[in-house]
Symmetry: C2
Subunit: 173 residues, 2 copies
């Protein structure tokens, strides 16, 4: 086991500013490309991260502390962000994500200490889970979606790299 | 084909600052973990990116403009960075990468215009390649290594996420 709360928080704190520096000001071609029908573009990934701050991570941790294993988590709609209003710019979305994440991390720090990390709740699909596992998943979920964004962008240039396609791990099918 | 020089430059300019905001100040556990024997850690990936600025991208583009298809590129040692001296901190390495990349992008802008993009050179392994393909590869190579860094970090928490491992695309084997 590698878990250390301070190290998880290092990742959680870095994700919004990393995406701000990577995505702000990018051309629409990069922001709106996807990997084919039914897949997400970078803006939709950011919407999904915003949705997670509002309805997934901290609410589920609070649920564990309040309910224990008595009642399972309310289901989380992993596609809720697809119906989000589209008017805001990527910069506005990233600012919103940054603010929500700052609040989440503050609540995480206030709520968590060693004893509480081992508390358990009931996931609707796979049963007993620990607070510590949920917090770990939160950080790895960030990493998954950073990887997704760069993979989407790489895919856009699949034909452009010519024979180098064989050397670029990110374009391996 | 998606190629647009200004859009490629958007990616090339963002990679160093993205990695600076993501990696600076991270705990040694994150910086030194890898995916098993013979694989790289995040610091080694940054060393590899530095090496590419010095010996791969701009030197090969200049080779295409000077030599055309006459003589193949000199071979590029993709493992040269593994013998790099280790004394500098990750912050120093990221500063070095940022400075080298700024110089590279300035030279790219000075050297490239529409006619030149279609010029060809000879790759030692796969023959005729276009300047435009090499420039595209440079950007996708950045994306590959950003994806690699987050994948390495996610791997460290494979056991910690508990049953969520099935839901996290980045941990799919």
């Amino acid at each position: 086991m590698s878990f250390a709360l301070n190290e998880v928080i290092e990742v959680l704190e870095r994700t919004p500013r990393t995406l701000q520096h990577f995505l702000s000001g990018l051309s629409p071609g990069w922001l709106h490309c996807n990997e084919g029908e039914g897949t997400w573009n970078a803006v939709e990934v950011v919407n999904h991260l915003i949705e997670g701050e509002k309805t997934n991570w901290i609410p589920r941790l609070e649920w564990i502390l309040q309910e224990g294993e008595e009642r399972p988590f309310p289901p989380f709609d992993r596609y809720a962000h697809l119906s989000v209003q589209k008017e805001s710019t990527i910069e506005q979305k990233l600012t919103e994500f940054t603010q929500l994440r700052e609040e989440s991390v503050a609540r995480l720090k206030a709520m968590m200490h060693d004893e509480v990390l081992e508390r358990t709740g009931t996931h609707p699909a796979f049963g007993t889970v620990k607070a510590r596992e949920l917090i770990s998943t939160w950080a790895v979920h960030d990493l998954t979606h950073i990887a997704q964004i760069v993979r989407i962008m790489a895919e856009r240039y699949r034909a452009d790299v010519g024979p180098w396609v064989e050397y670029l791990g990110i374009l391996k099918k």
